[in-house]
């Protein structure tokens, strides 16, 4: 780590301090404040609509974390991440609906948590399967194979085969009350929100911890130059596949989480658009930092909602605007990516870092 700005006369004396999560009292206070806002402030003050926006942000963060790990830290560009979200969501749904759970597990409400875990592992393995070409190809060719992952998984296997299981037709509906965590039935935005917070924080910790370990250093070395990394004795293939596994794992958690917010899932929830959206999120947030995934998700979701609110008053005079809002959203997203890439290629997290540095040195910036 040691990217933290230490105040005067604070020095680290061993590596444990250097790698610590919260290195100064100020940072610790900041984090406690953040936790208070997230766990106390938002659930208390936000209404159902605002909570649902928060849930969308959380879902986007979970999806974008995996993409950030692959693109930002391991340098493996993926344009098919929605496929792994879909695998997670479908695994979890099928387990809940079809698997003969023992009665005591149902009573304790463990079916859904276990299915999330299984979904994450299955999505991780599926991701490794499509990461295998990364041993041989890289750059643009790898982008193409991950695109193939999207089309093969969502448009072919899930649409044509998985959706036929149980003869339910295209969409799997989840009856109310089937999603249960322990004694709580997840049926309101607030409960989804709390579960989302738990999962997002857990996944952020997983990724951050991995990044300060041997694996994380290997990933960064591969990203910076894979040939030098190999020369230095890093098993490139192993660590690339590990990155794919972890990214798929988190993607699976994201997908399995999202079914708690949906009444029914169908392949249309995981289009190619969503894969590109996740990549756009991290590019806007900033490649190569966890902050990037979080800021990008907040920015994209909030801006799109704001755009919708801005369109509403115009809807009386131009009803076409509201009817075709989805298309405006697409076009705006495209322009936003282009604009960020051209004018702000370092993303929002770079600005955040700049602002932090400014205030760290304030008022004597040298």
């Amino acid at each position: 780590m040691s990217t933290t700005f230490l105040p005067c006369s604070v020095y680290h004396q061993n590596y444990a301090q250097d790698h610590a999560w919260w290195q100064t009292k100020f940072i610790k206070g900041k984090m406690i404040l953040l936790a208070l806002v997230l766990f106390g402030g938002i659930p208390y003050f936000a209404d159902s609509y605002q909570l649902s926006i928060c849930n969308t942000v959380g879902y986007t963060i979970l999806g974008a974390l995996g993409v950030q790990l692959l693109i930002g830290f391991c340098g493996q560009v993926t344009l098919g991440h929605a496929a792994f979200l879909a695998v997670g969501a479908y695994t979890s749904t099928l387990l809940i609906l079809e698997f003969p759970w023992p009665q005591f597990l149902m009573d304790w409400g463990l079916a859904y948590p276990i299915s999330i875990l299984v979904a994450a592992v299955v999505a991780g393995i599926w991701s490794v399967l499509f990461g295998l070409p990364s041993a041989k190809v890289k750059g643009f060719y790898l982008i193409l194979t991950t695109m193939a992952a999207q089309f093969i998984t969502v448009d072919f296997i899930i649409t044509q085969y998985i959706s036929q299981i149980g003869g339910r037709g295209q969409a799997f509906s989840l009856p109310p009350g089937t999603i249960k965590v322990g004694p709580w039935v997840i049926d309101s935005d607030l409960k989804v929100y709390l579960m989302m917070l738990f999962l997002v924080i857990l996944c952020c910790f997983i990724v951050l911890n991995l990044l300060r370990s041997r694996a994380g250093r290997a990933w960064v070395a591969i990203r910076d130059n894979d040939i030098s990394a190999e020369v230095m004795g890093i098993n490139v293939v192993k660590y690339k596949l590990l990155a794919f596994f972890v990214a798929g794992f988190i993607g699976g958690i994201a997908g399995a989480f999202w079914i708690s917010n949906l009444a029914a899932i169908s392949p249309e929830h995981f289009p190619w658009f969503w894969s590109l959206w996740l990549v756009g999120v991290i590019l806007i947030g900033g490649v190569g930092s966890i902050h990037g995934a979080v800021f990008g998700s907040i920015f994209m979701v909030v801006v799109m909602e704001a755009l919708q609110l801005a369109v509403l008053p115009l809807a009386d005079t131009f009803p076409k605007l509201l009817m075709d809002f989805l298309f405006i959203k697409e076009a705006a997203f495209g322009l936003a990516i282009c604009g960020f890439m051209i004018f702000e290629p370092n993303g929002l997290s770079y600005r955040w870092w700049q602002a932090k540095n400014y205030f760290n040195l304030w008022p004597f910036s040298y």
Binding site: V77, Y141, S228, D324, E330, C338
Partner: protein, 294 residues
Amino acid sequence: MELFFMTITTGIMVGGIYALVALGWVLIYKCSGVLNLAMGEMTLIGAYVSLTFYSMGVPFILSLAISLVIGFILGVLTERIFLDKLIGQPVLTVIMVTVGLSFFFKGTVEFIWGTDTRVFTPPVFALEAIRIGPIYIGQVYLWSFIAAMILLVVFVSFFKYTRWGLAMQATADDEMAALSLGVSARFVYAIAWAIAFMAAGVGGTLLGNINGLNISVGYLGLLVLPAVVLGGLNSVPGAIVGGLIIGVLQNLAGAYLDRYFPGGVKEIAPFVFMAVFLLFKPYGLWGWERIERV
């Protein structure tokens, strides 16, 4: 056996259109090194423009010409507004800008023309099939193939014999040397985008004639990616051969594999094939092998 020959012929005919679009893609990559993921949406724009003029009563050839002109203007504008500022940026940045462009184009097209399928009315080509020996070919396919081939010849001779084309070849070969000999690289980039836009527009129009025009024609534009990977990213003959092979392969998969894997095998087959092909021959049939050094 007749089914086999018919599938192959249809495949070649459709593949001709893919080859045309793939040529535009390779051109951009060769000249400016941009890996363009907005090709599908570029086909959509050209197709919708010519459809609009055609349904206003303009003759088909003329509306195709109008879409060529508009494609030229849009291509130059796109290059000047978006891509010009990205020269020398990392690959991912440039790719994502083209992804952003694809969303922008797609959203705009959907907003203006809607998502319903539109057909060229009255049909441009006669509906009855032509019989050649034992096989029947739809006239749409035949004429599309001929049109695509004519344009391919026009484009290839443009590179070989005109001043602009030679400038483009020089830039693609060695940018530094071309610059020192007085070739304007920015001009070449703009022309490459303009030609790609024009080729994509014609390809989209022809595809729209076959099955009607809607957003999924943009997906067909994505099929150029397997085609160019097959041929090698920076090879013009590779793009043409790759387009033809992908066309044939797609139709063969539709005819024979559909029995075993019902559903969308026809759409998926090129991508599966591409993923497997990449494992064994990552630089395609005629692409330049890149040797990396630390």
